[in-house]
């Protein structure tokens, strides 16, 4: 969601990172989670005017036509959301490599199952998902997922590949030569002026051990 807002040049406040003294932090998150119609189940939530919209894919679908991140036309919009939801499935599976038993438990409580799930993910799911997107990029001539310019699922695929590079550097290195078009897309997104500015700014959150994409070397391919 941050990448979409940055690429579109939209001003936004990431309330989770604002200090409590400036109305941010955990109290602000709690406030957002208690408001909205319907009330959100969980973050992230986009507050825009009197709307509060939850669910990452829906937030992106809502933002995109307002900010030039999807083409006009129903076929293009449907294609974009289809890709977005497939990427979201991949993201859930990437998360569950370190939390296969329960999101509310520590990684250390589920390390054995995590090792099994991560091995299955690296062997089967990661090549299947990224191979799928490689085929989509191969089928189209532009280097973007849809049509001839960037749409929001390109940003989501960028973020996901970056996260996977962080979490599974060895597995991704092995896979890289089979996904040259995904790699090229990542480079192209990173080079866009607003995205490049964002990535170099303190607004960009580093991947960390509280997020979706975490680096536990024991879950990666053995060297």
């Amino acid at each position: 969601v941050r990448l979409a807002l940055e690429e579109a040049g939209v001003e936004y406040v990431d309330v989770a990172r604002e200090p409590e003294a400036r109305g941010g932090g955990y109290p602000a998150i709690e406030r957002v989670l208690k408001g909205g119609t319907p009330r959100p189940f969980a973050p992230p939530v986009l507050v825009a005017g009197d709307r509060a919209i939850a669910q990452t894919s829906l937030i992106l679908q809502w933002l995109a036509p307002r900010h030039g991140l999807v083409q006009d036309g129903e076929a293009e919009r449907t294609a974009a959301m289809q890709h977005q939801l497939t990427i979201a499935d991949l993201v859930v599976e990437a998360h569950d490599t370190h939390h296969p038993i329960g999101a509310g438990k520590y990684y250390e409580e589920q390390k054995e199952a995590a090792a099994l799930r991560a091995a299955d993910f690296i062997e089967h799911r990661l090549p299947k998902f990224l191979g799928y997107f490689e085929a989509i990029l191969t089928a189209g001539p532009s280097g973007w997922l849809i049509g001839d310019r960037l749409t929001y699922p390109d940003l989501s695929l960028f973020q996901t590949v970056c996260g996977l590079d962080h979490a599974f550097p060895r597995a991704m290195e092995r896979l890289s030569k089979r996904i040259p078009r995904c790699r090229a897309l990542v480079d192209r997104v990173a080079a866009r002026p607003r995205i490049a500015g964002y990535l170099a700014s303190p607004r960009r959150l580093d991947f960390n051990q509280q997020g979706i994409f975490r680096r536990y070397p024991e879950l990666d391919l053995t060297p």
Copy 2:
């Protein structure tokens, strides 16, 4: 998706259940998975005229305004998709109770992890999700998730609660008194004439051990 088509009274063919001699079965699924723009990642796929749309939530979002399963108005449509995506998250977690390590492996290969994940699901996730929808239904006066009539996430919540009843009869029995409005919604959906006709027909697929919601008694609450 079938419930939405049935409630709307739309004619459809479930190609997976058609005999190969009539152009159905696995070859038909393969054909659909190789066509479409973009090509789908996985079933289900809705083929409507020259469109092929994948991702359950997107199929429902696409069908709903065409068949009276969502109100007009952007706020209502956004609310409906937000609920749909939250229900989809619950469905993934319900599936992963029996496949926490890998969807391509047999249950028997991951029984130990499944027991742990199912216990966590029953203790934490199931009450959290269904408690959330109970609160949504409590906040509105109509007994439906949005506005004053049925929308497609009501059908999705119906199917999900039915599936959970099948998979975890003891856990759902224990939870039932805390979710009276979810229970009432299920009864109301089941009583709708077209849905009742469908549920009594051979078109309704029984829950089974190949689907998302499976009954493994050892994953349910102990008696």
